[in-house]
Point group: none
């Protein structure tokens, strides 16, 4: 009779204020959506993991669709803030800003694997409004990167011709980061820093240089 997921013996804490409950529920939802996928996740399991009854889930966060959207929004915001914080810690060098941003990104993915899985895999597997929600975040990320690239180019005195491509390049870099993060999920033996460095090397130097033995080195102390 008892469901497999029930935390047996755990006493439910009662009468918590709304805010706390909402956080609990979102945490649980991210965990379950990440592991099962949107459709396979059941509201039953989410409520069990959140250690609360189903009606409260509905009362606080609405339908399954609403809940999923809320997860995406919250996680996307957390991720973007983490990256922005990383960039802010760097000095004025665009090169270093990029590096810090990447570090922060992979740091986030490493720390909150479920969040990233929900954001990247689940949200894009479901089409429609969810993918769009994500698309917005991606656009903000791309803009951020594009700005860095433009600064770099200006520092090096490169003209308009090259800068015309910055948006596309930024999109490619963002895509490459996402992809590498995705790959990392299934190969967790490397550290966040190593993965970030690998990407930096790859895209910054290019294969052409790498096979020539030239590599990019992370600045000291990061």
């Amino acid at each position: 009779m008892r469901s497999t997921h029930e935390r047996a013996g755990r006493v439910r804490s009662k009468r918590l204020p709304r805010e706390v409950r909402e956080r609990q529920i979102l945490d649980a939802a991210v965990e379950v959506f990440s592991q099962r996928g949107y459709h396979a996740a059941s509201m039953d399991e989410i409520s069990e993991v959140a250690d609360i009854s189903k009606p409260m889930v509905y009362a606080y966060l609405g339908s399954k669709e609403d809940l999923f959207a809320a997860c995406i929004r919250r996680e996307a915001t957390k991720l973007m803030e983490a990256i922005a914080d990383g960039v802010a810690e760097a000095g004025n060098s665009p090169d270093e800003q990029l590096w810090r941003g990447l570090r922060a990104f992979f740091g986030f993915v490493g720390e909150f694997r479920d969040s990233w899985r929900v954001l990247h895999r689940q949200a894009s597997a479901q089409g429609g409004p969810f993918a769009q929600e994500l698309g917005d975040m991606r656009k903000r990320a791309i803009s951020l990167v594009a700005a860095l690239l433009i600064n770099t180019a200006q520092d090096e005195g490169v003209g308009a011709a090259a800068t015309g491509q910055t948006d596309a390049l930024a999109a490619a870099l963002v895509g490459a980061s996402e992809s590498l993060a995705d790959w990392w999920l299934d190969h967790p033996e490397e550290s966040a820093g190593a993965v970030a460095a690998r990407l930096m090397n790859l895209v910054w130097m290019g294969f052409g240089n790498l096979v020539d033995g030239h590599t990019w080195q992370p600045p000291k102390g990061s």
Copy 2:
């Protein structure tokens, strides 16, 4: 899609050989899985699209899980063959082989969007056996690319230090390709060739060179 209680009459062609039936079913399954996702896809809709009765679907290809796995296997094989064909068309230059492989890959994605969606988005959104099936294909792809990179390095007389990284670089390149293909799904305005060239440029030259105004040019006649 059409609910059963509104009756529709369609005449079905009968007594087709097993092979043909299987192809029909797999085609339908790829289409439906790609558009709805694994869970949201219903065996009912698949059998309708395949223009065959549900029990036949089960007779020929087993459970829903089996069917999905069969889709992945078939599409993955098709994709790998397309890439191998592309590479084979190139001469001995590893540089050109890489380019042809990329072209073939993006050509495939452009031509069989549903196939790619199933392979990349749906298969990885469902965990477990499906992702593994994909993982195998990816490994084969990575090996292929790694071999090319090693050849390149040897051509240029680069030593073991650099080649030690080839596997990781190959993985990164494969990942970047997947990611770019994924992005392309949602931005279909570019041609396959243009997307491939963009990637080649990016990873071969590196951002560092690109912002300096150096670009890689596809060889003539491709």
Copy 3:
């Protein structure tokens, strides 16, 4: 109506005496039951409309069933009082008393459509105790009418033969009134007076003949 997970803030007036609260609740309940029907009405909506918290509804008026019964009782009483008042305003003429009673009835229905809807449509759609509650009211109404008819007959010197039917006739008249009121709900273009006059015309002229001893006979063989 507004789901709980979108928060709304409303200031509630506090500490009202019990009577006032009960009236508020009953008013809200009649409105909601009338519009949604017994089952589709939710205690949540009722408490919202009553501008009071749900536990208070339970504290004051008990379960949903109790609340519905209370509605019926209150509205039935109001209706019967309205009719009695109407009849009392007339002189001794039974003819005029009937007319005033009908006017009062249709006046009530016109003024309190929700009340009538709850009484007539909802209460009888739910079987069991509710219908019985109504049945009692109906019996009182029928007795009232029957008394009028007997007086009429006596005034006109009609014998026992005709009076034997008075109860049935009264029931028919009451039924016809209810039915016409029901019809009127959906055709509100006429005035209460006009509807009452129409009914009076229809049945009174029929009664007129009946009490004169004229009856219509079914053709042989049916």
Copy 4:
């Protein structure tokens, strides 16, 4: 564990053709809707009474709403046909046609109490599309009666003045019939013929005077 409504020990007949199943389901639905009301009726109980599994109910007749509408349509059609048959059996006399129609109506109500309960009580308690479905049937009934009344009036040489009211009178007669039928549901001791005769007496004598140009006038000052 076993539901109260289960017919224990009954062996389910299997593999019946669609038509038969649909009839079974509709019969069960009318029975359950009539006894419980639309909302309180559960698809579970309906499928049990129909002696079939729930998915078949959905497969054949759609959602609960669809099913209810189908019940109303089928029963309304049956009723109208019964009345039309009754009228057709009469000769040319409108008087007799009316009588036969009434007899047929009450005969139907007596024989198919559940049908009538669904049509009259449940359908009108739920607003919206259901009530409208019923409204259509009522309009057809009213037209039928109005035609009879016009014929009567013409037979007796009554002018346009009186006939101008036929529609309203017809509506009143239909309403009175419905109402009496409703009353009869709760007082089943009388025969269908007796109830029909009572109504005929009541309203016909009233009508008789009306078509002769006699009308009852409300007293002054009200």
